[in-house]
Symmetry: D2
Subunit: 347 residues, 4 copies
C-alpha cells in the first residue's frame, strides 16, 4: 500500500480526497492535517467519513507530512509553495490549490495577492492540445502536479476539442456556469448560509472578475494553439455539489455543422471519465455526483451560428479530489482510473 | 369592485393570478374555471389560497366567463384563440398563453403545432422601443393583451436598453438562463419529479430549440430597431420559482464603457418594478420571489469586449401572473402598479 | 398612519416585520435600527425589501426609537428588557425575543444566562384557555406584549383545544417538529451553511434541551388547567422557512374518537388564521409560506391510542413577524387581521 | 464472479442495487429487466450508471432471470411471489418488495390488496432479538430473503436494543420520521413534483395508516419478546435521499438513566454498519448518503421520562439496495460487508 498524506483535510476538498482514498485499492490514509482544526476528531469535521471518525487532525507541518509517498495539498490559495519547497523531491506532491496552475505571472498577480510561485505540470490529463497530443503525456512520472480548478475542468474539457480541431472560433467564447455551494468552501459568509442559498440563483465575479478566467484561457489556448478570449460568468446554484457549464463559441466559417459532433466523439472516445452523451440527451449534474465523470453534450445552433457545449461534473470529485487521485495514479505509474468512481449517486 | 374571471385556474399561472387578485384592492375573484380539474375544490388544487379553499372549479366555457369585466386566460398554448373569439369585445382579455405573442406566423409555426392566431398588444409595458417610446403606450385602453413569456420578460428587460441606445451589438447576443421548476408547469413528467430535480442543474431546448427564442428576438428587435439574433440556453434549477438570466452582448465599437451603466439607469429610473441595483451588487432570485420586481445589474467585461447584464424575476409573478395584473391595470386605466407586491418573500 | 419602529431590523425577524409593515394599510415604517449593521443600507441586508433599499440602519437606542407609537423589538435574547424599560409607558412595545415570555423565573434561568425580566401578556391570541376564555382577551389595549416563539406557536395551537376540552391527556405529550433554517437566524455557524443543510435532516436540542420546551408547557398548561409534560424534539429541515409540528398525545380514556375532530373544529371555527383542513388533508409548510396562517389536521390513531395533530406555519410570519403585527393590531384596537396575508406564496 | 440479475431495474431501488453491484468485487451484473421500460437503454433511465449506459432493459421473465446465482427483485408490491415461485430453489432470491416481510397474514391484508404470500427470513442482520440472538443467524445460507422496508430499518435499529434490554417500555412508542422523496419511488404523482416538494415538509399516512407500521411492530416485538405498539408518523422532506427517524419510548420504571447509553453501545459495538455517535453528536442524513451506514444517537429526557433515539440512514442504500447486497453476501457465505460503502458522499 502507498501511504498518502492529506494536508488541509478539514475543508471540502480535503474531505473528498479522504473519501476517495478510503475506496482506493492501493492507497492508505497516512497523516491527516489541518490548520485551526488541528486537534479535533475527524468525525467532528467530516462525519460522513465514518471509518476515519476517531482519527485526530495533526498540525500541518513538514515533519508530519514527510515520510509519505504522496502528499495531497488542499490548502488555502498561497499556502502551498512554502510547504512544497520543503518536501523531498521524490515525494509526489499533488496541489489542489491555485498556486502552481498559471504559467503567466501577470495573470497570477492580477487575481491573487501572493507572489507567483511558478507552474507545475497541469493535472488535466484528458485535455486535447494543439498538434494532437494530450496533457496526460506531461504527467506520467511527474513528482509535482497542479490540480485544475473546478470550473476550468468542466469548461476546458467542453470546449477544447472544438478549438483543437478548428471547429469553433477562439475569439468570442461565452461561458455561463452554475456551481453548487461546496465550490465556495466552508468559509462562514452570510451569503453562503442555507437560508440565503436555498431557492436562489445568483451570479458573482461577473465581468471578467473570476480567478478562474485566466486558467480557462490558458487551457483553451493550449488546445487552440493561439490565444483564446473568454467571457465567463459563474453563478451559485441551490445545491451542495455539481457544476453545469454552458459553453458557446462561434462555429468557424466554412465548418460543416453536420460533422461537429464527430469532433467531440473522437476526442473522448478513449477517455474513461469523459462521456459524450447520446445525441439529444443533455447532462444533469445529479448524474455525476460522487463520480469522477464528465457528462457532455454538443449542439449546433445554426440560427445563431454558435456551437453550444454543456458539461456536468462534480466540483469536488472530477473538479478537485478525483482529479487529484487521478494525477497521483499517473505520477505513480498506476492505472489512471484506479479506485475512482465511475457511477454517480443518484437520485 | 371589478369582477375578474380566471380560466385555467388549476395550473401554476392561474394560481398565481388568484393569489394576486386576492391582494388587489379593485378586483374581486369571479368565475374560476378549469379543464380536467373542474368540479374540484380549489383548496385541493391550490391549498395556499386559503380564502378560496371552498370555491369549486367550474368548467371553462364562454357562458361561465361572460359577464366579467376582465378575463384572465391561463390555458395551455393553442387554447386561447377559440375562447377569446367568443368573448364580448368590451371585455378585457389578458392571455397568459403564447397564442398572441408572436407577430410572425412563420416563427409561430416553427415552434407550435396549432395555426397562428395573430398578435395582440404585447404586455411588457417597460420595454424600451427604438425611437424612444415604451411598449406601455400600446397597452392603455387595450381590450386584448398578450402577456409575455417568463424568460422573454427577464431577458428582454435586461438587454433592451443597450440595444435601444446602440451600446451593444444586435448580432451576437448570448443568453443562458436558469429557471425554477414551476416554469415547466404541473405536467407529470419524470424529469420534473422532486427526486430528479433537487440537487441538479440541467439544460434543455439547447441549440435554438426553445419556443421563447423568437419572442425574445421580436422584443429585442423592437428595441434595437433592427433584427437581433440570440443564442439562448435555458436551464432547469433546483428551486420552485425564479429566473436568473445572464445576458451578454458585444460592446459596440466606440462605445464608452464608463457610460454603459448610465444607459440602464436612465432606462429604468422611472419604472416602479425594474430596479438597477447599486454598482457591484448582483441580483439573486430569492430577493424577488412573490414580487413583481425585476432586479438588474450590468457590467462591462473589458477583457472580453462584452457587456454582461443579469436579471432576476419571479417567473410566476413578473414572469406571468403579476404581468397579467399589471396589464389589466393598464387596460382599465388604473394605476399600473396597483395591488402588485413590491417586496419579495425572503429568505 | 401609525409610525412603527423596528429595533434589530437586520435579522430575519426584523426583516419579516418590515415586509409586513410595508403591506399594512395603517402602519408606516419609522426608525429602523441595528447593532453591528448600523450604518449600512437596508438594501445590502434585506435586498428583498426593495422599497426600503436606500434606508440606512440607525443605531439601536432609546432616542431613535422614542416618538413612535409602536416599537417592535427583534433583538437577541436578553437585550429587550433594558431597552423596553426606557421606552415611555404609552408606547406599544412588541417584543419578539424570549425575554418576557416565561412566567417562571426558574424555567427562564434553566435555559438563559441573563436574569429573568418578568412576563408580559403573551401574544398568542388564538390560544384556548382552560375555562373557555382565549388569550386574546388579555391583549386588547396592552402596551407591552411578548410575541411567542415559533415552535411554541405551531405546537400550542395544535394541542391546546384537546387539552382544554379534556380530549387528550396532559401527561405524555410527544412532539417532533421540523423547522426551516431561518428559525436558527443569521448566525454564521458551520452547520447552517447551505452546503451542510441542503439535502439533510438533523435533530438538535434533543432530550429536553430546547429553550422552547418550558414555553410550550406553559401554554399547554394554561389550556389544560393543569401541568403538562412534553417531550419535544426539534429538527432542522432543508428549507428556508416553515415549521411542521407533529404532535401526539394519548386519547383520554373514555373519550369518543368520533368526536375528536369536532373539538378542533369548534375551537377554531371563528379564527381568521387557524384553519382545520378538510378531513384527510394534511398540512404542507409550502402552503403557508409568507402568510399568517396555521394549517392544521387531526387524526385518531386507534391502534396506538393516540391523537395526532399536525400543524404547519411559516416560522417568520405567524411564527414571528406576523404574530407581532397581529399583537400590535390588538393593542391598538385595530382589526386583529388587518394587513396580514391570508394566502401563502406557493409553489 | 457471481452473476446477479436485477428485476425491476428501472425504479430507484433497482438503480441503487445496480450502483452497488458495480462497486462489488464479487458480483457481476447479469440480466437487467423492467416492465414498461423494457427495451430502453439503461442510460435513459439511470444516467448516473455510466458504465451500464448502453445496456438495454429486458422484459422481466423467469427465462431471463434463470441462470443467475442471485436474483434481486425490486418489483412493485405484490409482484414478487409469482416470479419467485418459478425460480429454482438453489437460486438466491433477495426481495426488496414487501411481499414476504410480514408473518401475520392479518397485518398484510390490512394494508395490501393482494393475498398474503408468506414470510421469508427477514433481512435485517443487526436486529437484536429477545434472548440475545441476532437476526443475522437466520440469514446465513438462506436462499430466500425479504429485505426490510426503509422506515422499519432505521426505526427498528434505533429502538430494538432498548426493548431487548428492557430499558424502554413497549407500550407507548412514538416515532416521527422524515424521508427523502426517493422513498416514494418514481410514480408520477402531483405531490411528488419538484415544484411541490422543494421547500416543503408534509406528513402522510398519519394515524396508523402507513404500511410500515406492522413491520416495525413485528421487528420491535421480536426484540422485546412481547407485543409492541407504535404510533408512527412519516413525513416527506425536501431532499432526494435519507431518513431521519426520531424515536421515543418511556424509560422503564427503575431503569438507570446513566446506563442507557451503554445498552446501545454494547448492542452495536461489533456491527460494521451501525454507529452510535459520540455523546452529544446527533445524526444528519447527509452524512450517510450513498453509504450502508446507520448513524445513531440516544438521550434520556429525564423531564419527560422518555428515551429519545434518532437514527439516520440512506433510504436507498441501507434502506433498500445496500441491505439487499448485505443479505446476498450473507446468503452466499461472503463477508457480510463486502463491497458495501462505509463512507457517505457529503456535503
Amino acid at each position: 500500500m502507498i501511504r498518502a498524506a492529506v494536508a488541509g483535510a478539514s475543508g471540502y476538498a480535503g474531505g473528498e480526497i479522504l473519501r476517495l482514498l478510503l475506496a482506493h485499492p492501493q492507497f492508505e490514509v497516512g497523516a491527516v492535517t489541518a490548520g485551526s482544526n488541528a486537534g479535533e476528531r475527524l468525525g467532528a469535521i467530516h462525519p460522513h467519513l465514518t471509518p476515519l471518525a476517531d482519527r485526530v487532525l495533526d498540525d500541518t507541518s513538514v515533519e508530519v507530512l514527510a515520510g509519505h509517498e504522496v502528499v495531497f495539498l488542499a490548502l488555502p490559495h498561497g499556502h502551498s509553495a512554502a510547504l512544497a519547497a520543503q518536501l523531498p523531491e521524490e515525494v509526489v506532491v499533488i496541489d489542489c490549490g491555485a498556486d502552481f496552475r498559471l504559467e503567466s505571472a501577470q495573470a497570477w498577480t492580477t487575481f491573487y495577492d501572493t507572489p507567483h510561485a511558478g507552474a507545475w505540470p497541469y493535472g488535466l490529463p484528458e485535455l486535447p492540445l494543439a498538434g494532437g497530443a494530450r496533457q496526460r503525456e506531461r504527467l506520467a512520472g511527474a513528482r509535482r502536479i497542479a490540480v485544475p480548478g473546478c470550473y476550468p475542468t468542466g469548461i476546458s474539457l467542453a470546449l477544447a476539442p472544438g478549438l483543437a480541431a478548428g471547429t469553433i472560433e477562439p475569439s468570442d467564447v461565452v461561458v455561463v456556469a452554475a456551481s453548487g455551494t461546496s465550490g465556495a468552501g466552508k468559509a462562514l459568509k452570510p451569503h453562503l448560509l442555507g437560508s440565503e442559498v436555498m431557492g436562489s440563483m445568483s451570479p458573482y465575479g461577473v465581468g471578467g472578475g473570476h480567478r478562474h478566467t485566466p486558467e480557462i484561457e490558458q487551457n483553451l489556448g493550449r488546445a487552440a494553439g493561439l490565444p483564446v478570449t473568454v467571457s465567463f460568468t459563474p453563478t451559485l446554484a441551490p445545491m451542495p455539489r455539481g457544476i453545469l457549464a454552458t459553453c458557446t463559441a462561434r462555429l468557424t466559417e466554412g465548418a460543416d455543422p453536420a460533422s461537429v459532433r464527430n469532433v467531440w466523439e473522437q476526442a473522448y472516445a478513449a477517455e474513461p471519465f469523459v462521456h459524450l452523451l447520446p445525441e439529444g440527451v443533455w447532462p444533469r449534474t445529479a448524474d455525476v455526483i460522487g463520480s469522477n465523470n464528465v457528462h457532455l453534450q454538443v449542439a449546433v445552433d445554426a440560427h445563431a451560428g454558435r456551437v453550444v457545449v454543456v458539461s456536468a461534473i462534480d466540483n469536488l470529485t472530477k473538479g478537485t479530489g478525483g482529479a487529484a487521485i487521478q494525477c497521483a495514479n499517473l505520477a505513480l505509474g498506476l492505472d489512471e482510473a484506479l479506485g475512482l468512481p465511475l457511477t454517480g449517486v443518484a437520485p
